[in-house]
């Protein structure tokens, strides 16, 4: 009887729980920040994963299920970045509105062009993504496409606020294009240089600003460096006159530190998402901080 009362209380209290604002859940914080820019106070946005963790291996906390249960819209990065953690909790959320192919589901990888699509896949190649490199959000040009896609989706779900979302998107695009000029000017000084990255996570960013990726510290995606491979990277750094090793915040840094100390190349720890470092507290400051760390 007590249990029944509890259940009934839960059911009836939902009327208070559901606010009129659109409930948006995003897998990563960068998506949440773009939604905030466009939806402002007309949406309530909740990111699931933390920005300073490995986006491939997020621990699917049961509390995420409660967040998904009440969502009107789920926005994912896609490109199989969430394949290791999202499917079971999305299934357990029992929310028909946000399942793939429904109106309340948006896969951002569908709106951008992915690079490095492998012609053949085998797990011999490590943690390979059959649909291409999923870290497309680090191309600043893609952010404009993503923002537009999100604005269109919000309009579809909440047509009454369509003009509000479009206006916010236009304003965001204006600010972003200004920022793009600023970043391109700053990055001009290091255009064409060759760099090594720990994991193939900054490829879109580096390509956009004309930098050359000479190699990776990990021998294969998701496989930690071996001494043999570090030896190869050492020779590569010396031969190609590599200036920077780009290290993410979540992988072990000892291999990059070793190479940096031994060969005198600079190791730069770059954020990859909003919240990865404390300076990157929004989508604009994320790119500000990446450019600052690359050029200082």
């Amino acid at each position: 009887m007590k249990m029944l009362c509890f259940v009934l209380t839960c059911i009836f209290s939902t009327q208070g729980v559901f606010s009129e604002r659109l409930q948006v859940v995003t897998t990563y914080p960068y998506i949440a920040n773009i939604v905030e820019k466009i939806g402002a106070d007309r949406v309530r946005v909740i990111p699931l994963a933390r920005g300073d963790y490995n986006p491939h291996v997020i621990i699917p906390k049961p509390s995420y299920i409660a967040k998904l249960r009440r969502a009107d819209l789920l926005i994912i990065n896609g490109g199989q970045l969430e394949i290791g953690w999202l499917p079971p909790i999305l299934k357990q959320a029992n929310n028909a509105n946000i399942q793939p192919e429904e109106k309340g589901f948006l896969d951002l990888s569908m709106c951008v062009h992915l690079i490095d699509i492998p012609t053949s896949v085998s797990r011999e190649q490590g943690d390979v993504h059959p649909e291409g490199n999923p870290h497309f959000s680090l191309d600043p040009d893609n952010i404009l496409i993503i923002a537009k896609t999100i604005a269109d989706k919000l309009c579809e779900l909440d047509p009454e606020s369509a003009s509000f979302y479009h206006a916010n998107n236009a304003e965001f695009a204006r600010v972003w294009e200004q920022k793009m000029k600023e970043w391109k000017d700053k990055m001009e000084s290091i255009k064409g240089i060759k760099v090594v990255e720990y994991h193939k996570i900054y490829d879109y960013f580096l390509r956009r600003f004309g930098l050359v990726i000479a190699g990776t510290v990990e021998p294969l995606p998701g496989i930690p460096p071996t001494s043999k491979h570090i030896g190869e990277v050492e020779r590569l750094i010396e031969r190609d006159k590599i200036l920077f090793i780009l290290q993410d915040v979540y992988n072990p840094q000892d291999a990059s530190e070793y190479l940096s100390k031994r060969l005198g190349v600079k190791m730069i720890v770059l954020p990859h998402d909003v919240g990865a470092v404390k300076e990157a507290d929004g989508i604009i400051s994320l790119f500000d901080e990446m450019v600052r760390r690359m050029t200082q």
């Binding site: 259940v7 839960c10 209290s13 939902t14 729980v17 559901f18 300073d52 963790y53 490995n54 621990i59 699917p60 906390k61 049961p62 509390s63 299920i65 409660a66 249960r69 009440r70 394949i83 290791g84 953690w85 999202l86 499917p87 079971p88 909790i89 299934k91 357990q92 959320a93 029992n94 929310n95 028909a96 399942q99 192919e101 797990r123 490590g126 943690d127 998701g222 496989i223 930690p224 915040v249 979540y250 992988n251 072990p252």
Partner: protein, 429 residues
């Protein structure tokens, strides 16, 4: 006039094709069967588990071990021998799973379990995709959601085998039944899930549906047809900073009907007609230290109560009936930590703390406080391969001899290799 019109129309119709000849359109010729359905192949994965076992007990003695009053020896229980049964090399199992979206309304999941000598359909169920108001239905043969670990597949366990209490109450293969389940997730900030299952209840360790009768027709208990077992559970979870706390309570109520040679035309036999209740609670606290490391504490307690009639038939077909009562309970607690990119380690303590078996109110004095101590270290080259070294010191098992129960503690070291290929779905928390 009509002819002119016809010629004009003909020219209009032909013109595009004439123009087309100047600039032939690029046509892509696709080869292959027009009825190819390879894009609809379900997600298929295969998991294989091997081990090398070193144990201070020979294989024959090991096969005779039992938990008195709780779990029968391996050699008399149905099915295969279970994992790590032999000293030296073991091929424990192969597990093939198939998953696909059926149509807009259902998903289908099936698991084929292969032992070296035989194969079986371990699980096969559908789940709904589109029920409103936070409901989902599962139907078919599946692992019950009772407790915490019962639902997890063998390859996902943190240790080489299931905890003693799960083994004692549900057998080596867990509470795996034919039936249906409905779950409801509350639309609240706090995660709250309620679930009810209606199951056949054939599990031989706690339940059972067999009818029985003796030759003289003194006892005649019919087979219990239809759903025999009801399970209800709730789970809830919240986060404290970087720690996720998950807890749950479960309750099961079912009929227990067993026929052990009672209806047979010769020999001695026993039978049981009773009802069983299981009450269980579980707690998991997972503290995420950083992007790589975590520490996870998990514990489950289960209490089982059985009440009914126990029948004994001797070789001269004299049948005696006794009132039977059992109160049994146990728990496990484990601490598992991910220490590095590829390393995990853990310790576990198992205890069956209560083992009261009363026949006509006389306690049979079966041993209680049966314990096991385990420790393991894991090396995971990738998420698809795992090498685990586990040490068990088991102080819970006995051997039935002509002179009564013989206590048989033992120690074993298991080196386990678990490999997964194909498209295997991600695991839940």
């Amino acid at each position: 006039m009509r002819l002119k019109y016809f010629v004009f129309m003909l020219l209009v119709a032909v013109m595009p094709s004439v123009r087309g000849q100047d600039n032939p359109p690029e046509t892509q010729i696709k080869t292959g069967s027009p009825f190819n359905q390879s894009k609809f192949v379900p997600d298929i994965s295969m998991i294989v588990d091997f081990s090398y076992v070193s144990r201070d007990l020979d294989n024959t003695q090991f096969s005779m071990l039992s938990l008195p009053g709780l779990h029968a020896p391996i050699e008399t229980s149905q099915g295969d021998e279970g994992s790590n049964a032999h000293r030296g090399f073991n091929l424990n199992y192969g597990e093939m799973s198939l998953y696909s979206i059926v149509d807009p309304y259902f998903d289908l999941f099936a698991v084929l379990h292969f032992a070296p000598e035989h194969a079986g359909l371990e699980e096969a169920y559908i789940t709904t995709r589109k029920l409103p108001y936070g409901f989902q239905v599962k139907a078919g043969k599946f692992l019950s959601g009772i407790g915490r670990m019962n639902e997890q597949h063998e390859h996902y366990l943190d240790f080489a085998e299931r905890p003693l209490v799960l083994n004692a109450f549900f057998g080596d293969e867990g509470l795996n039944e034919l039936g249906a389940r409905i779950t409801w997730v509350a639309p609240t900030d706090l995660y709250l899930m309620l679930s009810a299952e209606i199951l056949t209840g054939e599990n031989e360790a706690s339940f059972g549906t067999s009818g029985f009768s003796d030759q003289n027709g003194i006892v005649n208990i019919s087979e219990s047809e239809g759903p025999n077992l009801l399970v209800g559970y709730m789970r809830s979870s919240f986060d404290i900073e970087d720690a996720a706390v998950l807890f749950g309570i479960s309750y099961a109520h079912g009929k227990t009907r067993m026929d052990e040679n009672f209806s047979a035309p010769d020999g001695e036999g026993t039978a049981l007609d009773a009802s069983t209740d299981i009450l269980a609670g579980n707690l998991t606290v997972k503290y995420i230290v950083d992007a790589i490391r975590y520490v996870s504490f998990q514990s489950e307690y289960m209490y089982r109560s059985t009440e009914g009639s126990f029948y004994n038939r001797d070789t001269s077909f004299t049948v005696e009936m006794y009132a039977l009562e059992k109160q049994q309970a146990g728990f496990y607690s484990q601490l598992v930590a991910k220490l590095g990119f590829r390393w995990r380690a853990g310790i576990r303590y198992d205890l069956l703390n209560l083992n009261n078996v009363l026949i006509e109110n006389a306690n049979q004095s079966f041993p209680k406080n049966l314990a096991r101590y385990s420790a393991m270290v894991e090396y995971n080259p990738t998420e698809f391969s795992r090498l685990r070294l586990q040490l068990n010191h088991d102080r819970s098992k006995y051997i039935h001899t002509s002179g009564g129960l013989m206590y048989k503690p033992y120690t074993e070291v298991i080196l386990q290799l678990n490999i997964a290929i194909g498209a295997h779905g991600a695991h839940s928390f």
